[in-house]
């Protein structure tokens, strides 16, 4: 498995984004606060994932806080991949679901729980 650790995980005061490339699927793991502090990392990770052009799963179980920057990242992923595919959002917290609901972004994702 090819791994791209985009954020330094030791610095969990902020958040972190990691991208894992499997042969069939790209997994993006979000932890901590996913906000504007993470802007550059998110942009980087998003571009890598979209360039890889395969189905994307986002593990959001570890997200403690998300703002509009986080929403924009998720929406960009959803808009970036092929139209017939759907981004899978795994184990989002209630606050993340709430945020996606309020901003009308829920239809872009297939929400699953493990």
């Amino acid at each position: 498995m090819l791994t791209v650790a985009v954020t330094d995980h030791q610095d969990l005061d902020t958040g972190a984004v990691s991208v894992f490339f499997d042969p069939t699927e790209t997994l993006i793991v979000l932890v901590g606060d996913v906000d504007r502090v993470l802007s550059d990392d998110l942009e980087h990770a998003g571009r890598d994932a979209i360039d890889h052009a395969q189905s994307i799963t986002i593990d959001a179980a570890g997200v403690t806080f998300m703002d509009s920057v986080g929403v924009a990242f998720l929406v960009r992923l959803a808009a970036g991949i092929a139209t017939k595919q759907q981004v899978v959002l795994r184990d989002p917290s209630l606050s993340v679901l709430d945020l996606l609901q309020i901003t009308g972004s829920i239809p872009l994702f297939r929400v699953t729980s493990s």
Partner: protein
């Protein structure tokens, strides 16, 4: 000094070598005996020799003296009765530089350790005279009193080899040869201590060789005859004082050979006492150390150069450190605030006082002064009108380089603490004068070959860093101001619409660097409806601001064509794609039909990724308009929905961006609920009051920018 009389190697040493220079002859290590050849008894001994043998009473047989002093052959065997150097000397044979050893701990058993450890007059501990010693002996002839006697000198020659080299090794045998030659080259003299003028009574051949004076020409004369015009009188005086006191002494002084050529002579003179402790002779040992003096002069010069190089290196390090500190101090959003730190770094370390004037309003104002009272002028706040600064300052400000002004040329204003003048350093970037740095009484002494030039270069380097930082701050501020102006220019002056009260407000982020993409729009349409919209473009830069402007223009155009809210959002989605704008954006578009005397008003809206608008009813109830929401613009959503609500007289619509309720301690949903609660109890009769209430209730520090627009139906229109 008559330098022309000196050979080159002597000229190299400009002064007599001082006491700090190492001596070839370790004076205190010269133990001297006078022995009667017939009886082989020690008649006289100098102080060190007496101490070595535990101060046993003289006369004493040489063998006994040797045993008490702990002398052995190099291998540690006894000296007495052997064919060793002492026996040889006692048989009247000359001995030149024979090696023996001294082990004082095995010696003078009868005398006791306490006695053996005593210190000689010369201050040297006798235990220091251990290990290899060099014994030299001369049968004395020529003087009636000396005939039949022999001079024995034990030397611990300098160089460390005497103590460090273990006898028997290859290195030791080489050292032995060198020492032997050296010992043979030593000139010995004996002077009569009982006669006026201390006449010489004996000299050895090495003395003749070294000085050019044959035995006959030397004996009978005072030993001062070697002195000449450039001999240091102070060194001679030190010799005389020591001899008068009967103390051993070592001096290096400039002497003259018989042919008049000078040489550096290291002289060690020891008083020699008889058995009753009376002073009988002075034994002198001399060495021509001219070559060494020259070498030492070179060493001293090399040392001086090394120290100078070190001083330059240290100075360079201090300069580098100053520049790093200045750079660090001025690296901030507003470099002007760092000017007191800059002057603190400069004074008093590099100058008496330091001041910075910065350009402001067609003049220069002093913003920082550092330096100790009372020699620092009180310049803070002082203004220099541009173009009317006193000379020579005005002229220097135009030149752009650091310059030194002497005290006499200075305006009295700056003369305080400027005895050593003042360095004027303009702070310039791209031909523009941003200010001036003044250094009162610069410390420019003693660094490098051209201290003034070096100091001015350093001042220029400091000024360059300060000026660049000031310039960056200025550009930064200008860019931020520009961005804010752009933002405000893109936001509408709210129109006056009959029957409606309107307020719109934009809050830039607290972080001065960032520019927002938040916008709002109110536009009365030809069909009587009123467009009310708000949006937020992702990102915080000029691109975000321009994207916002283009979206707003597109919205205005589409709205004027009469489309409904969902269609308008759809058009904006397409516009974002068509214009190849890489940003995501949220938007909420409302179309308002004002209440008329015939019908209640109506609001139709559609949103994309935007927090829901709030509708405050006339009775204070607040509704969250969370329907008709689709994903953000840029997600390529194909169908957008729209909802509608009644909008009656007294009702108030509030649209906002998420920056207004941003708080990482709570969710967006909670933030919306909180805002709704505030709106329910707010005073809405005056919308400017509402605006202030919302700003005050918002986050104290706005990480994101924020905007809101509120519309209230005041009355039904006809």
């Amino acid at each position: 000094m008559r330098r022309d009389a000196l050979p080159p190697e002597v000229s190299a040493a400009s002064t007599t070598p001082g006491p700090a220079l190492p001596a070839l002859l370790d004076q205190a290590a010269a133990a001297i005996l006078l022995v009667d050849v017939a009886t082989t008894e020690v008649l006289y001994a100098n102080d060190l020799a007496q101490a070595m043998a535990g101060r046993a009473a003289l006369p004493l047989s040489v063998d006994r003296w040797g045993a008490l002093a702990g002398l052995t052959d190099p291998a540690g065997g006894g000296l007495a009765g052997s064919g060793g150097p002492l026996s040889q000397v006692c048989r009247g044979l000359p001995v030149a530089g024979e090696l023996i050893r001294r082990e004082p701990r095995q010696a003078c058993g009868g005398a006791g350790d306490e006695q053996a450890r005593q210190t000689s007059d010369s201050g040297l501990h006798v235990d220091d005279v251990t290990g290899p010693l060099w014994v030299t002996g001369f049968p004395l002839e020529g003087d009636a009193e000396l005939n039949g006697r022999t001079l024995i000198v034990f030397l611990r020659l300098r160089g460390g080899a005497g103590a460090a080299v273990e006898v028997g090794s290859a290195a030791a045998s080489a050292a032995v040869r060198i020492r032997a030659v050296l010992a043979m080259d030593l000139a010995f003299t004996i002077a009569d201590a009982t006669s006026e003028g201390l006449p010489l009574v004996w000299v050895n051949p090495a003395f003749t060789q070294a000085t050019g004076y044959a035995f006959d020409r030397a004996v009978g004369r005072s030993c001062s005859f070697l002195q000449g015009p450039d001999t240091d009188p102070a060194a001679v005086e030190r010799l005389r004082v020591a001899l008068r006191a009967g103390r051993p002494v070592v001096e290096t002084l400039l002497n003259y050979r018989a042919d008049g050529t000078p040489f550096w002579n290291e002289v060690a003179i020891s008083p020699v006492l008889d058995s009753a402790g009376r002073l009988v002779n002075f034994v002198g040992i001399q060495a021509d150390v001219t070559a060494r003096v020259a070498v030492e002069a070179e060493l001293a010069e090399a040392y001086r150069l090394e120290r100078a190089a070190r001083a330059i290196a240290e100075s360079a390090m201090a300069q580098t450190s100053l520049l790093a500190d200045v750079s660090h101090a001025v690296t901030r959003v507003d470099a002007r605030e760092a000017m007191p730190q800059v002057t603190d770094l400069l004074a008093p370390a590099w100058c008496g006082w330091a001041a910075v004037y910065l350009s402001a309003d067609a003049g220069l104002t002093c913003v920082a002064v550092s330096g100790p009272e009372p020699t620092t002028p009180r310049l803070l706040g002082h203004r220099l009108a541009r173009g009317r600064a006193p000379q020579p300052l005005a002229g220097l400000l135009d030149t752009g380089a650091a310059s030194l002004v002497v005290a006499e040329q200075l305006d009295p204003l700056w003369r305080l603490g400027c005895d050593a003048g003042m360095v004027v350093v303009p702070l310039r970037v791209r031909e523009q004068l941003l200010g001036v740095l003044l250094l009162g009484s610069p410390r420019i002494e003693g660094r490098g070959t051209d201290p003034l030039r070096e100091h001015l270069l350093l001042a220029d380097a400091v000024a360059t860093r300060v000026a660049l930082a000031l310039d960056i701050s200025r550009l930064y501020e200008r860019e931020h101001t520009l961005a804010q102006k752009l933002q405000l220019a893109l936001l509408p002056d709210l129109p006056s619409v009959s029957g409606l009260d309107l307020v719109g407000h934009y809050l830039p982020s607290t972080d001065a660097a960032s520019i927002g993409g938040d916008w709002y729009e109110v536009l009365p349409l030809p069909d009587g409806r009123v467009l009310v919209a708000i949006g937020d473009v992702e990102g915080h830069d000029i691109d975000a601001a321009t994207t916002m402007g283009r979206l707003r223009s597109a919205l205005q155009s589409y709205a004027l064509e009469g489309h409904g809210p969902a269609a308008l959002v759809g058009w904006l989605e397409q516009a974002l794609t068509a214009l190849a704008l890489p940003r995501l954006a949220s938007v909420c578009v409302g179309l308002l039909e004002r209440p008329t005397t015939d019908a209640p008003g109506r609001l139709r809206w559609s949103a994309a990724g935007h927090p829901p608008s709030l509708l405050r009813r006339a009775d204070g109830r607040v509704e969250v308009l969370d329907g008709a929401q689709s994903p953000m613009l840029g997600a390529r959503t194909e169908r957008h929905r729209e909802h509608e609500a009644v909008f009656g007289v007294g009702d108030l619509l509030l649209m906002y961006t998420d920056g207004l309720i941003e708080d990482r301690r709570r969710s967006l949903g909670d933030g919306i609920a909180l805002l709704a609660g505030q709106l329910a109890v707010a005073d809405v009769d005056d919308l400017s009051t509402l605006s202030r209430t919302l700003v005050a209730a918002g986050p104290a520090t706005v990480e994101d920018d924020a905007a809101f627009v509120a519309v209230r139906a005041l009355a039904a229109i006809a």
